[in-house]
């Protein structure tokens, strides 16, 4: 048990201060939406009372994938290769299914080079949280459009994007993903509650977070700029899914009205909370909401789809109860008698 500090520091159910969940300093552009998401990850993990070392931080390549260095410094992590984080996570999960796998990815990672791996991780209902920090551009290579850039998006310099975007949430719902949400990097409270719910979900939880690029995508004609999102975001009701154990704080859900949130840079965003009539178990309604938002050139946020009934990959694998990591070597290697018997059978 840790000693009670002289000055009252807020502790979670594990008596851990929030500091136990932080990471190194960020090297992203000042004001980057991704840093806000990192902070939400820290808060959500702390509030959910997860032992930090029982989290595995997974990522691919890109601005978003650099962020695991900036949160959860007590967790092991793997900054893998471009678009391949799902497969590495799947392999790690097969060996140690008791860790919480928290993947962070970008739109280049998830909608282009790694879309196949994302799809198949969803198909397997891999037990993980998968956050897409979605800004519609390739930041590290200085601002090329990604596959989620909307038609009509215009870079500060260069041509307008004429290629239709991939909507990862619609894709995920169609694939039968068991937890699909969209949020905005500036919507700290909504994103925190969604992430806390996702961390408690048994199965694949996708959160597509619109996270505007302050350097390459922040002119008002871009549909993922602060200015654009601020004016055009509509929000489904916030996640009120209750984690499997008692949450540290109640998640307050302001149903049926608007809320303006001030972003770090002083701008404000209107979160529109859709009526609680939206049933997250209704895939058709979720797809309709996405479709209508697209037609209206808006982004709809919130918990779009949720299905806790499907078996996750762990159940499919038919493994022993303890993680394979903990199975003794003498059990992993069949005994000599078994080989003697095989040799004898082959010879008979």
């Amino acid at each position: 048990m840790s000693e009670k500090p002289a000055r009252a520091i807020k502790l979670n159910v594990l008596n851990e201060p929030k500091d136990s969940y932080t990471g190194g300093p960020s090297s992203l552009c000042p004001g980057c939406g991704h840093d806000q998401i990192s902070n939400v990850i820290i808060t959500a993990a702390w509030e959910n009372g997860i032992e930090p070392h029982r989290i595995a931080k997974m990522s691919g390549i890109g601005c978003s994938s650099k962020t695991p260095a900036y949160y959860l410094g007590q967790s092991h992590g793997f900054n893998t290769v471009h678009g391949r984080m799902p497969s590495v996570t799947t392999g790690a999960y097969a060996i140690n299914k008791d860790l919480l796998y928290l993947g962070v990815s970008g739109d280049g990672d998830s909608a282009s080079i790694g879309i196949g791996q994302l799809i198949h991780a969803i198909r397997r209902n891999m037990d993980m949280v998968y956050i897409v920090e979605n800004n519609g551009v390739y930041g590290l290579t200085k601002g090329q459009y990604s596959a989620t850039a909307d038609v009509g998006s215009k870079k500060k310099k260069g041509a307008t994007n004429e290629t239709q975007p991939i909507d990862l949430c619609a894709l995920a719902i169609n694939l039968g993903c068991t937890f699909v949400a969209r949020s905005f990097s500036g919507s700290k409270k909504q994103l925190t509650s969604l992430l806390k719910a996702a961390m408690s979900h048994k199965g694949f939880a996708l959160i597509d977070v619109i996270s505007p690029c302050v350097t390459f995508n922040n002119n008002d004609e871009s549909m993922r700029s602060y200015g654009y999102v601020k004016e055009n975001e509509i929000t489904l009701h916030m996640a009120d899914y209750i984690p499997h154990f008692n949450p540290v704080e109640e998640i307050e859900v302001p149903d049926g009205h608007y809320r303006d949130i001030t972003l770090h840079d002083g701008s404000t965003i209107r979160l529109e909370t859709i009526s609680s009539e939206h049933d997250p178990g209704d895939a058709m309604a979720a797809l309709t909401a996405l479709h209508e938002a697209e037609n209206g050139k808006k982004h709809v946020t919130g918990l779009l789809y949720f299905d806790p009934s499907k078996p996750s990959l762990a159940e499919d694998l038919g493994l022993v109860e303890e993680p394979l990591l903990d199975v003794a070597d003498e059990v992993l290697r069949p005994d000599k008698a078994s080989l003697d018997a095989l040799n004898a059978e082959f010879l008979s």
């Binding site: 032992e51 070392h53 029982r54 595995a56 931080k57 695991p68 260095a69 410094g73 007590q74 967790s75 092991h76 992590g77 793997f78 900054n79 893998t80 290769v81 391949r84 799902p86 497969s87 590495v88 996570t89 799947t90 392999g91 790690a92 999960y93 097969a94 060996i95 140690n96 008791d98 860790l99 196949g116 791996q117 799809i119 198949h120 397997r124 694998l317 038919g318 493994l319 022993v320 109860e321 394979l324 990591l325 199975v327 070597d329 059990v331 992993l332 290697r333 069949p334 000599k336 078994s338 080989l339 003697d340 095989l342 040799n343 082959f346 010879l347």
Partner: protein
């Protein structure tokens, strides 16, 4: 007429998907059970049904296992290759042919012809499956002509159709029809015959892929992540097939996971994930799969993640000849991925070694914290080879430098993931979930503490340490297998499945008066004994089944300068398993050129 006993080659031409494989395996197994040294090569197309297939059975009291230089007995069932197969026969050859084949006949007076109405005979048994039964009819005819033991045949049938009483009965009846037809209508006018042999040690037949699969189980494999590809699929399926028997507890729960991945990239990623998490992960693939896995191979090398990759090689480049054999991935495996890399490659030449390296691969991967490759090939992996039995691992699993307990962790003065504490280039690691010294693994440059770094000295030192680490592995890997003549005249360095042709090549060369030593390389990086072998011999030939002499290239680069000049390459590949005469002739030609 003199009999030719246990020294001839049978070539059976059929179409694939007609059930000929079962018939051919029955023939092979029955000869094997008679104690006759025999080998079978399945030359099959990349196709489900209807394309030409040849099965070559070679009987050789000398134990030669390569396909012979010529066919002595040709079985003609497939009209598609009929004319070509017939034309290729040398005078004096024997042809057993299906006389019910429309528009096809055998009109050569320099060969011995046995027409058999195979289709009509088969229809007598069951018209619905006549095509299937046709195959077993020719086995019956061969059995009668060659004097194959009926008990051995029946045992082989029982083995082939384990527990399927109807199939066993049907096949034995068909064998009898073939035999009876032969007795009643044909007069033996050829010299070929089979005689039983006493076998000193009992043996069984098994494919290299199944042997490697069993080996993986005895290595305690925890994750198999794979994507189907010829000729490796039967290794993955072999692992899967033995899970219920070897890896499942009383409640039906397994101690290993199997994931059929969406592609080879994902399969490799899963293997790395397993290694990163502290488990034993492997994949089985072939050259095209390894091409796709290059990115992850580099990550495994650079981030030092134990991982096991089996490459059952086939003919490249590109899709190449997917169902033919070659040793053309040596360079790709040894130096896989971009940047400076060097990998451990285990190269079995026998089914016993497929089993042994199947489990040892994990020990090496965890000990050296690096990707380890098993390099088999289609010939070794998918054909059946004689085996005296598998040997149980002689030591406990080597899990390498993993810090699992807090006490041990606390004893480190400084702990860094990539800190070379012992001076052997192998650092210590902690596992995710352990709570000990967490780091963010990365494929980017890093310092000994595992933190991102672009500092020149960090990068330089890291690359030097990685080189030292793999270099240190040399003499811990399987040593070359040496069969040396005292004269140390000509030394042949070779690898893998060439093992099955080398003795015949050796004999052909020695028949010209020279003395030939053999050195079978069983791992990369090269063991120091390879260099000593080269040093001892006057002239060294590096013999391999590819175009460019990939192993030769490695020797040339790694041997001291004074030895390089006496090493010469003989590399040849046409997709076929190595026929001894072709390689022997090329060696003689090269030796001639060297003299001049």
């Amino acid at each position: 007429m003199d009999h030719i006993i246990n020294d001839f080659t049978i070539n059976i031409a059929t179409a694939n998907g007609t059930g000929s494989q079962s018939a051919n395996l029955i023939l092979l197994q029955s000869l094997f059970d008679m104690g006759v040294p025999v080998s079978g090569k399945n030359l099959f197309p990349s196709n489900i049904s209807g394309l030409p297939t040849w099965y070559i059975v070679r009987l050789s009291d000398k134990g030669y296992q390569a396909p012979g230089d010529r066919t002595h007995i040709q079985v003609l069932v497939n009209p598609a290759t009929w004319d070509e197969d017939l034309a290729a026969l040398e005078p004096g050859s024997v042809v057993i042919w299906n006389s019910d084949t429309k528009k096809k006949t055998v009109e050569r007076d320099d060969i011995i012809s046995y027409p058999v109405p195979m289709s009509s005979l088969a229809r007598k048994i069951n018209p619905k499956i006549a095509k299937l039964v046709t195959n077993i009819i020719y086995v019956g005819v061969l059995a009668e002509l060659l004097d194959i033991d009926q008990t051995c045949l029946e045992t082989a049938v029982a083995k082939q159709f384990k527990g399927k009483a109807t199939a066993v009965e049907l096949n034995i009846t068909a064998l009898g029809l073939g035999r009876d037809y032969c007795k009643e209508h044909l007069t033996k006018s050829d010299a070929y015959t089979v005689e039983s042999r006493k076998v000193e040690k009992p043996q069984f037949f098994i494919e290299g892929n199944e042997a490697a699969a069993l080996g993986a189980h005895y290595g305690g494999v925890q994750l198999l992540a794979w994507y189907p590809i010829t000729p490796s699929s039967s290794m993955a399926e072999g692992i899967i097939n033995y899970i219920p028997r070897l890896r499942t507890d009383d409640d039906g729960n397994a101690t290993m996971a199997v994931i059929q991945a969406e592609d080879e990239l994902a399969a490799a990623g899963m293997v790395l994930g397993a290694g990163w998490a502290g488990g034993r992960g492997m994949t089985a693939t072939s050259g095209p799969g390894i091409s796709l896995m290059q990115e992850f191979i580099g990550l495994a090398y650079f981030a030092e993640i134990p991982s096991v990759f089996w490459d059952v090689t086939r003919v490249g480049p590109s899709t190449g000849l997917p169902t033919r054999t070659q040793q053309s991935d040596i360079a790709m495996l040894y130096e896989g991925s971009h940047g400076d890399t060097q990998h451990i490659v285990l190269i079995p030449g026998t089914v016993e070694e497929c089993f042994e390296y199947g489990w040892r691969a994990f020990d090496y991967a965890e000990r050296f914290q690096t990707p380890v490759f098993g390099m088999s090939d289609l010939d070794l992996g998918m054909n059946r080879w004689a085996c005296e039995g598998f040997t149980y691992p002689d030591k406990p699993m080597d899990r390498g430098k993993v810090v699992r307990e807090q006490e041990i962790f606390d004893a480190f003065e400084t702990f860094g993931r990539y800190l070379d504490v012992d001076g052997d280039g192998i650092p210590y690691r902690t596992l995710p979930g352990s709570g000990m010294d967490p780091i963010l693994y990365r494929g980017t440059g890093h310092n000994p503490m595992g933190v991102y770094s672009e500092k020149p000295e960090d990068y330089y030192n890291l690359m030097q340490r990685l080189r030292m680490k793999i270099d240190n592995a040399r003499d811990e890997l399987p040593a070359p297998l040496l069969r040396e003549e005292e004269e140390c005249e000509v030394g042949i360095v070779f690898l893998g499945s060439m093992e099955n042709s080398i003795q015949e090549i050796d004999d052909l060369l020695e028949a010209t008066g020279m003395m030939v030593s053999q050195c079978r390389v069983r791992a990369l990086p090269l063991h120091s004994e390879v260099e000593e072998f080269v040093r001892r011999h006057k002239t060294v030939i590096v013999l391999e089944i590819n175009r460019d002499g990939q192993l030769y290239g490695i020797l040339r680069r790694e041997l001291p300068n004074d030895l390089v000049t006496k090493v010469h390459s003989v590399a040849y590949s046409d997709g076929m398993p190595p026929r001894a005469r072709i390689y022997a002739d090329r060696i003689l030609q090269t030796l001639e050129e060297v003299k001049q």
